[in-house]
């Protein structure tokens, strides 16, 4: 086995709070390894980042630190040492006492992890009471938990008055719910906290606040924190050391600075290249192919089939995770060569075509409501022919409502929407077929937008039959052409959506939207359900198609950096009103409105994180007072 203890221990003088050694987790029945050879340690007060795309095994590792394996998996070997005790060797009862007091967990979705029927104060009290006896010793006088609850609430920046504690989870916002989750995790002053993508569903501003709370609390209480995330920008801003996982193994481990400025593994480099950036309208580079699932992994380096630096030796044996410098380990036999190459930024600058004056779509004082609640207040904008306009805003800003009004799916609006020179009816059903054909909509979630009972070919053919564009053999030919255009093969036509990955499904959705030659394409958060490398590929594809086919595109997103890689103009939506609209480079580079400035400041971005000294927080700093 390749124990990477030598390098990290010499570079890590502080006593580790948690030491993971050679952790292996298998599928219980088949003994197929899911994650293998995981070793790292976290010092007290440190936030350690564990980064990977879907299926890399990062959550599996996070849960193993609590001694837990998901249903169907089994921890097959290795150790998780916490203060000299091996968590993996404990009995269920010992684990139960450990969880919530010595180790705790903050799950991804606060809405489903809090009990909707109990007041939040009671849920906090439960956590304290469950472990009160263990902490104080038997017979100790039970401390008054109210004081501790109030203290914890102040720590997570929530009001500590009894009225707030009497609320139910649904009476709190998403950010407040996640703060309650943090409060529950920190309440017993644990030594280790596992945070599993706790900010995924939150707006950037809320996310920024939650992240700073996590960082401060970990340092204040000397808690070792494992932060599991798919978002490199978030991890770059939060963690000092980061491990990158790919196909069940750590492929690179080092300081965030080392990883993001001079990564030694080709996968890390490609991953960083796929992250959209606020500065510079460059195209994004996806990673071709996809990660092998457990059981189908190649005998050599797992990344070899997708790697441009592959040599014969890569495919023969699994490379060891070895140190390339102090506190920087890479699992690649060509790491030294990779390191000498200049960190490839991202793709070439995009040559955005000039928008034409002719408006393809105009919105004049559109007011949209849900029932009596007005969510969009008098929005006017125009989308020029051959132009990509990004519509950005936080959740609840009304951006999706505008998109659905344009597509005729949201009917409760007044004002005027004109397609070319045709004014549109509110409901899609009352529009003529040509208007419906010329506006196509791509949905956020490719898992919901394709009927699971129909084949891909059937799905893409549907608009052709519906609008009478083509039928029979002609239709099949056009479906095959369209599949090729979205970088799939014609053989996909016979498959069902549940046989495809998320990225492939979104390509099918794009093919369906483009098969009948629309003029306006409305893309509603089309990449938010996808991994960064898949997102990069989809954005690349959409950008190329938009330019080649001369489409007008309304690109709705909450991801500000993404805007620079696809759109010429951007409209910033804030509480149903357009706060700022203009050239993308200008609005995002030198924002004119305070709201836009705030939004950009709260957006985790790689270049900001890299620009800050030492990335994240410096390792040694006096604990904040108060």
């Amino acid at each position: 086995m390749n124990t990477p203890a030598v390098a990290s221990e010499s570079a890590e003088p502080a006593q580790a709070a948690v030491t993971v050694r050679d952790l292996q987790i298998d599928v219980a029945e088949t003994r197929t390894p899911v994650v293998t050879d995981i070793s790292f340690e976290i010092t007290p007060g440190e936030v350690f980042g564990l980064v990977g795309e879907s299926g890399s095994g990062k959550t599996t590792v996070g849960l193993a630190l609590l001694g837990h394996a998901r249903h169907g998996l089994a921890i097959a070997g290795g150790s998780v040492l916490l203060g000299g005790r091996d968590i993996l060797a404990l009995s269920d009862e010992q684990l139960r006492r450990l969880r919530g007091s010595v180790v705790s967990y903050v799950p991804q979705d606060p809405a489903s992890s809090l009990n909707p029927a109990l007041r939040v104060g009671l849920q906090l009290r439960e956590v304290l009471e469950a472990h009160a006896g263990e902490r104080d010793g038997r017979g100790a006088v039970r401390a008054d938990h109210s004081a501790r609850i109030a203290e914890t609430m102040r720590e997570v920046a929530l009001p500590d008055d009894p009225r707030f504690l009497r609320r139910y989870p649904h009476e709190l916002s998403g950010g407040q719910q996640q703060r309650i989750g943090l409060a529950m995790a920190f309440a017993n002053r644990p030594r280790l906290i596992v945070l599993d993508e706790p900010t995924t569903g939150l707006d950037v501003t809320t996310q920024a606040h939650v992240l700073s709370t996590v960082r401060e609390l970990a340092k204040l209480h000397d808690v070792a924190a494992l932060y599991v995330s798919h978002d490199l920008a978030v991890v770059a801003a939060l963690a000092r050391r980061v491990a990158v996982m790919y196909a069940g193994r750590i492929v690179e481990l080092g300081t965030a600075e080392a990883l993001f400025t001079s990564a030694g593994h080709p996968y890390t480099r490609r991953l960083i290249g796929a992250i959209p950036r606020l500065t510079g309208g460059r195209s994004l580079l996806g990673i071709p192919g996809h990660a092998a699932s457990p059981g189908n992994r190649p005998p050599g380096c797992s990344f070899a089939p997708r790697c441009s630096l592959r040599i014969e030796q890569c495919e023969q044996e699994i490379p060891a995770l070895r140190p390339v410098s102090a506190d920087h380990m890479v699992r690649c036999i060509r790491a030294e060569e990779v390191l000498t190459q200049e960190q490839r930024r991202i793709g070439d600058p995009i040559d955005m075509p000039a928008a034409e004056d002719l408006a393809a779509l105009r919105l004049d004082s559109v007011v949209a409501s849900y029932g009596r609640v007005e969510v969009v207040h008098s929005v006017s904008l125009s989308l020029a022919a051959h132009e990509c306009l990004a519509l950005v805003g936080e959740s609840g800003s009304g951006k999706t409502t505008i998109a659905r009004a344009i597509a005729g799916l949201h009917r409760n609006w007044t004002g005027k929407i004109t397609l070319g020179d045709v004014p549109l009816q509110a409901s899609a059903r009352r529009r003529d077929a040509d208007s419906r054909r010329r506006i196509q909509y791509i949905f956020q979630n490719p898992y919901g937008s394709l009927n699971p009972r129909r084949t891909v070919g059937d799905i893409i053919e549907q608009p052709l039959r519906l609008f009478g564009t083509a039928s029979g053999r002609d239709a099949s030919r056009r479906v095959a052409e369209m599949l090729e255009r979205v970088s799939l093969t014609a053989s996909y036509a016979a498959r069902y959506p549940d046989q495809l990955s998320g990225g492939e499904r979104q390509r099918v959705a794009i093919a369906r939207a483009l098969v009948c030659d629309p003029a306006v394409l409305v893309c509603d958060e089309v990449t938010s359900a996808l991994d960064v490398s898949v997102q990069a590929a989809i954005v690349e594809l959409l950008g190329n198609l938009q330019r080649d086919l001369g489409l007008s595109m309304l690109f709705i997103t909450h991801n500000l950096p993404l805007v620079r890689s696809i759109a010429q103009r951007v409209a910033v939506l804030h509480e149903g009103v357009i706060a700022e609209i203009g050239d993308a480079a200008q609005v995002l580079g030198t924002p004119g409105q305070p709201y836009t400035r705030q939004l950009i400041a709260d957006t985790p971005s790689l270049e900001v994180a890299i620009a800050e000294v030492g990335l994240g927080e410096p390792p040694v700093e006096p604990a904040p007072t108060g």
């Binding site: 599928v27 879907s54 095994g57 909509y441 009972r453 608009p463 046989q499």
Partner: protein, 301 residues
């Protein structure tokens, strides 16, 4: 087998959500369970009996073959009934009418119920409430009572029994169809079809219906079970289409008084009805378990 989906579907090879089931594969997968196999076997056996029975029956269903209430043996394998007719021949003859009536009634109730349920789920407005409250009103009448009243008022015609049974089947199917369709209606592929202007009936039956088949199949087999029981019960009460003809329910009624002397006249049809309803019940149970993923713990997928 379904090829492994890409990496961003299943985390580390463990499916996060059960994959959507296709109707055919659901039936086929449910056949891996012994309860479904037994159910199919029982139903198959009794259907076969009902179809072939009349042709292989040794005597006519109303032909007197000997002394009344004779025990099995001699000319009559299962003895004779209270009129001296052959029990075996009447048993072989008596299934057909029950099965046909139950099947037609269930099928009619299924079709109407599915249409109402899907329309209610898709409407998402006052129509939903109107339809479902109407279903509640029908459901307030016990199934057997409604059938009894209908037969008593109109007369014991086959179509009256079919209509009465179908009518009581409709609201139960409609509720299940609506319940299964509600989450599907919210999914984006329905919105996508609306944005493209797909006709409403196509959305209902092409987009929506195939995604609700699992629960519907379970409910349909359950309804079939109940229909058989009600028809047999009506016949037992003397309300069958042909009072002199053989019918399992009628046979039980006719021969119940002589149970201590010649039990087979009543017991044989009782066993037949019990096996038939057990069969349809087991099939429904098997499909339900498969749809819920219970089969997987026993080395399924």
């Amino acid at each position: 087998m379904i090829p492994a989906a890409g990496p961003d579907v299943a985390a580390a090879g463990v499916p996060l959500e059960t994959p959507p089931v296709r109707a055919t594969s659901l039936l086929r997968r449910s056949l891996r369970l012994w309860r479904t196999r037994i159910g199919v076997g029982l139903v198959g056996l009794l259907v076969l009996l009902a179809i072939v029975g009349p042709f292989v029956a040794p005597y006519g269903q109303s032909a007197p073959v000997g002394a009344p209430n004779a025990l099995p043996g001699g000319k009559a394998a299962l003895g004779t009934d209270y009129l001296g007719q052959d029990v075996l021949s009447r048993l072989l003859d008596g299934g057909r009418s029950i099965l046909i009536t139950a099947f037609i009634a269930t099928a009619a109730g299924l079709i109407v119920g599915v249409v109402i349920g899907l329309i209610a789920a898709y409407a998402r407005n006052a129509l939903d409430d109107v339809l479902m409250r109407a279903m509640d009103v029908i459901m307030a009448f016990p199934q057997i009572m409604l059938a009894l009243v209908a037969v008593a008022v109109v007369g014991a015609h086959a179509w009256v029994i079919v209509v009465a049974l179908a009518l009581t089947t409709v609201p139960r199917i409609a509720r299940v169809a609506r319940g299964a369709a509600l989450p599907v209606v919210e999914r984006d592929f329905i919105a996508c079809a609306e944005a493209m202007g797909v006709p409403r009936w196509r959305i209902l039956f092409v987009e929506l219906l195939p995604n609700t088949l699992g629960p519907l199949m379970v409910e349909a087999s359950l309804r079939m079970t109940y229909s058989i029981a009600v028809i047999a019960a009506l016949a037992f009460l003397g309300l069958s289409t042909d009072p002199n003809g053989a019918n399992w329910g009628t046979m039980i009624y006719e021969n119940q008084t002589v149970l201590p002397i010649q039990p087979w006249g009543a017991v044989a049809p009782i066993i037949a009805i019990a096996l038939l309803t057990m069969g349809t019940g087991l099939i429904g149970d098997g499909i339900a378990r498969t749809a819920a993923g219970i089969d997987r713990s026993r080395g399924g997928e």
